[in-house]
Symmetry: C2
Subunit: 221 residues, 2 copies
C-alpha cells in the first residue's frame, strides 16, 4: 500500500486493531494494545503535513481559510471515505465486523490515522510527508473542489429536524477573551440538548461547523 | 536563538509581526502579511513533535492521557510562558506594545508558534524536531511535573464565582455517536451563558478541561 517494504510489520498490524479486539499487553498488566495510540500520533502527523501543504498551496489565504480547508480534508467522514478508497477497510479488525456496519462509522477513519502513525514510526517524516501528499492528497482529493464545495450542513440539519419533528437552535456561546480567542463558538441545540459546538472565524462558519459535527453524530447526509 | 544562522531571516521577522502591525502585501491587494499563517503552521508542527515525544516517552499510556498531557504543554498559557523563558517576547511587534500588556495575553504564545513555523520552513522537520525536544521540552518543561500537577481548575472557577457573585454550572453535553466519539463534552455555564466546552475521556476530565479554558478566558488563576 505504501509502495515499499515495511521495516516493522507489527506496527501496521497494530494500526488495524480496533480497541474492541485489543489484547492485553504482555508487558504491562491492564494495558490493552489497540490502534488508539497510533491514531493519536497519525492524526498529529497528518495534521502537520496537510497544514504545510495548504500553507504553500495558498500563499495569500489567511489562517482561517487554511484551518477550515484542513478540517474538511481530515474530518472523520473524509478519512472514512479515504480508508475505503485506498482499500484499508479490508484490513481493519474489530468485533462484530460482519454485523453492525452502522455503529462503526468512524472505525475506518480512525484506522486510517493509525495507519499513518505506523508509516511515520516505520519510515520517518519525510517518507510520510511524500506519501500523504503524493498518494493521498493528490490522488484522492480534489482540493479546489474541497474549497468550493460548501455543503450546507445547516440546511441539512434544519431539514432533518423538520422531517422528524425535532427542534433545532443555533446558540452563540461567548467567543471568550476578546483578542486572545478570535474564533466564534456556536452550540447546536437539538430538543434542548447541546449536540455539538462549532467554531469558526465568522458566526456563519461556526454554525456550519456545529452543523457538520451534528450531521456526523446523527448520521444525516 | 536556534543556535545556527537562519537561511531566510525574513521568515523569522514575519513570525514576530502581530496582525495589529501587519502591512499590506506588495503582491496581493487586501492581503495583510502577519504572523498568523506561520502560527497556524507552527501549531501543527509543534503538535506533531510533542505527540511523538509523548508517544515514545509513555509507551503504556493510552491516547486520552497523551492528548491531555500534550494539551497542557501546548496550551496558550504555557506557550506564553515559554516565549518569555526563551526571550522571544523581546522581539514581538504589536500595536501599543508599551501600553496594555493585559489585553495582549496570547500574543507571545501566538508568536512562539509562528516562530516554530518559521524554523520549520527555514530548517525542515528534523531540525525543528530536535530543537523543540532538546531546547524547549527538555530545557523548559518538567514533563513529569506537568503530568502530576493537576491544577484543580474546577475549584478555581467555583471559588472565583463565589467571590464575585456569579453562578456556575457544569452541564454535560451529549457525547454524541456512541463509539464514534469516545470523549465526554461538558459545557461550563456562567450566569446562564456557555463560556467554554471541555472534552475528555471522563466526565471529570471534561469538566477540568472546560474549567481550564474558562480560567484562560476570564484570567482566573
Amino acid at each position: 500500500m505504501i509502495g515499499v517494504k515495511p521495516y516493522n510489520i507489527r506496527l501496521y498490524r497494530l494500526a488495524m486493531q480496533h480497541s474492541s479486539v485489543a489484547a492485553e499487553s504482555d508487558n504491562v498488566k491492564g494495558f490493552k494494545e489497540s490502534n488508539e495510540r497510533l491514531e493519536y500520533l497519525g492524526d498529529a502527523i497528518l495534521g502537520a503535513v496537510v497544514a504545510e501543504y495548504l500553507f504553500k498551496k495558498y500563499p495569500y489565504k489567511d489562517e482561517g481559510f487554511l484551518t477550515e480547508v484542513r478540517s474538511r480534508i481530515v474530518n472523520r467522514e473524509s478519512l472514512n471515505r479515504l480508508a475505503f478508497k485506498i482499500g484499508l477497510n479490508k484490513f481493519v479488525e474489530y468485533e462484530g465486523k460482519r454485523h453492525s456496519a452502522q455503529s462503526h462509522k468512524s472505525i475506518y477513519g480512525d484506522a486510517m490515522e493509525a495507519f499513518l502513525g505506523a508509516v511515520y514510526l516505520d519510515k520517518g517524516f519525510k517518507f510520510s510527508r511524500t506519501y500523504i501528499i503524493n498518494n493521498l492528497l493528490q490522488q484522492h482529493y480534489d482540493i479546489d473542489e474541497v474549497v468550493e464545495t460548501n455543503t450546507n450542513y445547516k440546511s441539512l440539519i434544519i431539514e432533518w429536524a423538520q422531517k422528524n419533528g425535532h427542534s433545532v437552535e443555533f446558540a452563540i456561546s461567548k467567543p471568550g477573551g476578546g483578542k486572545s480567542n478570535k474564533q466564534f463558538k456556536v452550540n447546536l441545540v437539538v430538543d434542548g440538548e447541546i449536540m455539538a459546538t462549532g467554531s469558526g472565524y465568522s458566526k456563519k462558519k461556526a454554525e456550519q461547523d456545529a452543523a457538520r459535527k451534528t450531521c456526523d453524530i446523527l448520521d444525516v447526509s
